[in-house]
Symmetry: C2
Subunit: 189 residues, 2 copies
Amino acid sequence: MISPINYCPQCSQPVRQGIPEGDDRPRHICDACGSIHYQNPKVIAGCIPVFGERVLLCKRAIEPRLGYWTLPAGFMELGETLAEAARREAREEANVEVELEALYTLFSLPHISQVYAFFRGRMRAELFSAGEESLEVRLFHEDEIPWDELAFETVRRALRLFFEDRHGGNFTFRTEDIGPELNRRPRPA
Amino acid sequence: MISPINYCPQCSQPVRQGIPEGDDRPRHICDACGSIHYQNPKVIAGCIPVFGERVLLCKRAIEPRLGYWTLPAGFMELGETLAEAARREAREEANVEVELEALYTLFSLPHISQVYAFFRGRMRAELFSAGEESLEVRLFHEDEIPWDELAFETVRRALRLFFEDRHGGNFTFRTEDIGPELNRRPRPA
């Protein structure tokens, strides 16, 4: 989500929207101190934790999409690599240590200005539990995946590709663009 | 570069640094309006524009690294896909239309909180010129690449991988972490 900028974060004076010289799109400009405040897409990093044949999913304890199932993933923080962010999110959401294999998917979601990266990950042990942002964490066989109760289109798409590639016996890195077409279903009971 | 936040962009009151409840790292918190202001890594998208055997580079007309050669690349904007951002940057910096092939490299630069994506790209015609941010734009054969006058380690690394893979006859998607080890050389004459 992109936060509103009403006042200059540097000097506190009101900002205006305008196109700076040499630029081609509106920015938040502070005429008092001359600073320009850019807003850019955010990166979400996560992984598909795999233990044997099964995949680990987390039931969300927070909005958005509370009660829906997701892969462990979250906003990349300052000072992190993509892999560090993905491992941290797995720890936070599922108390699980994941050994990351290759980066597997990279999705652009222009309608919400996000870039979404999922690694494939291996769990060394069947050790996990619900972190603070999860109601429940569970391993799922392919035929148990709650396709109608997945939190995000990115998660659905990453899992679809994962099982397709696993059947084919070969994992290939994928980049895709994902639009706003996900049907919002009623919250599961 | 990460901009300082001294005042709340929503309500103009001074912010403090603190760890919000349920969080694990310091954020900018506004006690007046209750908002929390997150800062996250930025994405840079670009491409390796290829025409026949040659690769297109731009000599930077702006800081940082004014006078050094770079691949066309820049900050991803709100509402864009990675590919749209890469094509736009090629247009802006080199007035060139690039048909993007696969995403080729994805670098994490944790010391400057950036994620850097380069596509491989094909130029349909030898049509290009210096955009506002470039002093000069030129096609280079491999043995002409100004290795000592490249602007960024990401560019050097992407080009090294590109020529290695081209010699090998097969391009493979690469993710790497890049540290702050680039030697800062004096500006070229």
